[in-house]
Structures are given as structure tokens and as C-alpha cells.
């Protein structure tokens, strides 16, 4: 297989952008007045959430595409995207409580966004498990595509049901939501981090797809070897 120039470029760009993001997050962005340094986790938390949602959207789009066109490539993209999505969703669920403890005083609260993220995590972990337990590749592709569609259609319903459920069960009031007016340097840092995480997503996706291709090639070679033997 030829050297993947485009992939190397993408990874290089991601690395440069990562250094810039780290600099901006830890040195350049001003310290938040009430929450202090811990607020800096925000620059990783929010982009992780963005990447996770974006990845799940891609799973949906490519699952639909697979069901219509039956192109194996679309299935590979869905699978890779779901894996990366679960990875970043896990990061959201880890960075969230680390931030929540000092900011709100609790590790976890059943607020709409948190609960939605947790349910999403469960849905897509289940998606990966389905793939894992499905021995037949053709069936695996079809079934997981159906689940990719069903799971994503479920997202708005989960969101609305949790939001309404929350409004009916009183909760301790939380101060300092992240949308309460960002300073321009903070906003700039956030935007750069969003860009970096998006680049990282595409870099990982590319590597994952390449790995998949190599694996398929290796399988093919092995099949041929067995046939000649």
C-alpha cells in the first residue's frame, strides 16, 4: 500500500493544532474569576462533546447510506465513527464530573445534558457490542446500520423526555452555566480547541479506516494462501 500522504499531512496538522490549543488553554486564556483554573477543562470538555455528537451523526448518515447502497465502505466508516464517538463520549463523561465537583459541589447531577450524554454512551456501546457479537460480516453491516439509524432517531426523543422529566422533579439550582457570556479570549480558545478536536477526529477516522483496509487485505492474502496450499 502506498504511503498515505494525505493522512500524514492530516496528522501533522492535528499535532501543530494540538500544541496551539494546549498553549491557549493553559497559558493564554485568562483564568475564570469564580471557578479558577479548573474551568480550563471546559476547553477539552466541550470539544469532546462536539466530536462525540458529530461522530454519532456520521454513524447515522453512513448507516442510512449503507442501507440504501450496500457499499461496504460506508459500513467501515460507521463502525470507525462509532468507536471514536464512544471514545470522546467517555472523555465527556470523565471530564464532566471532574469539572462539576469543584464548580457545582457534586460529581454528577441528572441534568438533561448529562443524562442525554450517558444514554448516548449506552446506546453506542451497545452498538459496538452488537458489532462485536455478530460473526457474519454481511449481517453485521446490515444490522448495525439499522441500529445506527434507530439509535440516532431516538436521540431527540431521549432529550425531550429527560428535559421534561427534569422540570417535573425539582433540582438544586446550579450557578455558572458555561453559556453565561464568554470573554473574547476564552471564546477564541474554545474555537481553536473545537477545530483541533475536529481535526483529531478526522485523523483518527482516517487511521482507523486504513487499519480496516489493511486488515481486509491481510485476510484476503491469507485466504489466497490457504487456497494454493
Amino acid at each position: 500500500m502506498a504511503r498515505d500522504r494525505c493522512g500524514v499531512l492530516l496528522v501533522g496538522l492535528t499535532l501543530v493544532s494540538m500544541i496551539a490549543s494546549l498553549y491557549m488553554t493553559f497559558l493564554w486564556a485568562p483564568t475564570e474569576r469564580t471557578m479558577g483554573d479548573v474551568q480550563r477543562i471546559f476547553y477539552f470538555h466541550v470539544p469532546s462533546a462536539w466530536v462525540a455528537f458529530f461522530a454519532f451523526l456520521l454513524v447515522f448518515v453512513f448507516s442510512l447510506a449503507y442501507l440504501v447502497r450496500r457499499n461496504k465502505r460506508w459500513d467501515n466508516i460507521s463502525a470507525a465513527s462509532a468507536e471514536i464517538g464512544v471514545l470522546f463520549c467517555t472523555l465527556v463523561l470523565i471530564t464532566g464530573p471532574i469539572w462539576a465537583k469543584p464548580a457545582w459541589g457534586v460529581w454528577w447531577t441528572w441534568d438533561a445534558r448529562l443524562t442525554l450524554t450517558l444514554v448516548l454512551w449506552l446506546i453506542y456501546v451497545a452498538y459496538l457490542m452488537l458489532r462485536h457479537y455478530m460473526p457474519d460480516p454481511e449481517r453485521r453491516a446490515t444490522f448495525s446500520a439499522v441500529l445506527g439509524v434507530v439509535g440516532f432517531i431516538d436521540v431527540p426523543l431521549v432529550y425531550f423526555s429527560i428535559r421534561w422529566w427534569r422540570t417535573q422533579h425539582p433540582q438544586p439550582v446550579m450557578s455558572g452555566g458555561e453559556s453565561s457570556g464568554l470573554e473574547p479570549p476564552m471564546l477564541a480558545t474554545l474555537l481553536v480547541c473545537l477545530g483541533t478536536f475536529t481535526l483529531l477526529f478526522f485523523a483518527l477516522l482516517r487511521i482507523r479506516l486504513r487499519l480496516q483496509r489493511l486488515r481486509e487485505e491481510a485476510d484476503e492474502i491469507q485466504d489466497r494462501l490457504e487456497q494454493t496450499a
Binding site: A126, T142, A145, V146, G151, L157, I162, Q168
Partner: protein, 221 residues
């Protein structure tokens, strides 16, 4: 189409009437869940009033999972899935027949469980009974709509019985929340259930449609 639906439905109901396998498994299991709740939480009547709706739906959901697992395990034995694949009718018809059969068998379990629940937890279920039954039907349809689809997938996996609840429960989170809230009202809570009833209807319509459309992919080889 109609004939396909009714034929599949009758076939499943007839098998169920003869063996009573799905019913007995899910009924005994749901009952066990209720009894275990009673032991582990030791509630007063007032507390039970508040949480009863939740218990009821946990029992229904867990029992439902057993019944749904049964639904396609039945077709796997003796290779009946292949038979289903070969029938020259619309796949959607097979789905609807299966889904209705599952809904009916789950509903029967639930309706028999209901008076026992009322007795165990000392809760008056007659006050808004028609409402309660409506919630039961809507919630069960939501549960079995996705459940039937996933049950058809789960039979082909390696961890058959385990994979169904793992896939189904997170996707039915909206049904569970809405059904519990609406049931709380039906059991006498002082809340407004109209939003939840609408959510249940929307969920049912969306997922019956989506499953109806995608079922062909599942059944195809």
C-alpha cells in the same frame, strides 16, 4: 399484507396458547421483581404510592425482555427463520404480525400483574383505570415496536439472550420515562400527564414506522 399480518399473529398466539412459555417466564419474572422490590426497599404505603409507577414499569420492562427474547428464539429453533424469509409477502407484514403478537402477550402479562401489584403495594388502581390501561397499551406498543426489531437481530448474535436488553433498554429510555410519569398520574399523582401521553404516541408512531421500514433488511440474507 393483511393476510400476512393476521397469519403471523395467529401462528404466534397459537404457539403461545399451547406452550405458554413466554407468558409464564415473563409473568413469574415480573412478579419476582415486584416481590424483590418489596423486600429490598420495605416501603410504607405512602412511599409505595410515590414509587409504584416506577416499580411497575421496571417489572414490565424486565418481563418484556424475556418475552421478546422468546419471540425470535422460537423462529430460530427448527430453522423457522428461513421459512419466514421464503414467504413471498412484504417484510413489513411479518414485522407487524410479530409486533402485534408481542404486544398482546406482554399486555396480557401486565394486566394480570396489575391487580397483584395493587394488592402487594396497597395502591388503588381503579380510580383512573381507563387512563391506566391507555398508558399500558401505549407504553407496551413503544416497547415492543423496537423490541421486535432488536429481537430479530439478537437471534443472530453470539450472546443472544444478553444482547437484547443491552440494546433495547437505552433506546426505550423515553418510553420508560413517559410511561412512568403517565402511570404516576393514573395512580393518583397530582401532575399533568398530557405531555407524556403525546410523547408516547409520537414514540410509538416513529418507531413502528422505522421498524416497519427497516425490518426487511434484518430478515434478508
Amino acid at each position: 399484507m393483511w393476510r400476512a399480518i393476521t397469519t403471523i399473529l395467529w401462528k404466534d398466539l397459537k404457539i403461545e396458547l399451547q406452550t405458554k412459555e413466554a407468558f409464564s417466564a415473563s409473568f413469574v419474572f415480573s412478579l419476582m421483581v415486584l416481590v424483590i422490590f418489596n423486600f429490598t426497599l420495605d416501603l410504607t404505603t405512602e412511599e409505595a404510592m410515590k414509587m409504584g409507577a416506577g416499580f411497575l414499569w421496571i417489572a414490565f420492562a424486565f418481563g418484556g425482555v424475556l418475552a421478546l427474547n422468546r419471540s425470535f428464539a422460537l423462529e430460530r429453533d427448527e430453522n423457522c427463520v428461513q421459512g419466514l424469509q421464503l414467504i413471498p409477502v412484504d417484510r413489513g407484514g411479518i414485522y407487524l404480525g410479530k409486533c402485534i403478537a408481542n404486544t398482546i402477550s406482554m399486555l396480557i402479562t401486565e394486566i394480570i400483574l396489575l391487580p397483584l401489584f395493587a394488592v402487594f403495594f396497597n395502591i388503588d388502581i381503579t380510580e383512573r383505570l381507563p387512563y391506566l390501561l391507555a398508558v399500558l397499551v401505549l407504553g407496551t406498543v413503544g416497547f415492543s415496536s423496537v423490541g421486535t426489531l432488536i429481537s430479530a437481530m439478537a437471534v443472530h448474535t453470539r450472546m443472544r439472550e444478553v444482547i437484547l436488553p443491552i440494546l433495547l433498554l437505552p433506546i426505550t429510555v423515553p418510553v420508560l420515562i413517559a410511561a412512568v410519569e403517565a402511570t404516576a398520574y393514573a395512580l393518583g399523582a397530582d401532575t399533568d400527564p398530557s405531555f407524556w401521553m403525546r410523547l408516547l404516541v409520537i414514540y410509538d408512531v416513529i418507531f413502528v414506522t422505522v421498524s416497519f421500514l427497516t425490518f426487511g433488511h434484518i430478515l434478508q440474507e
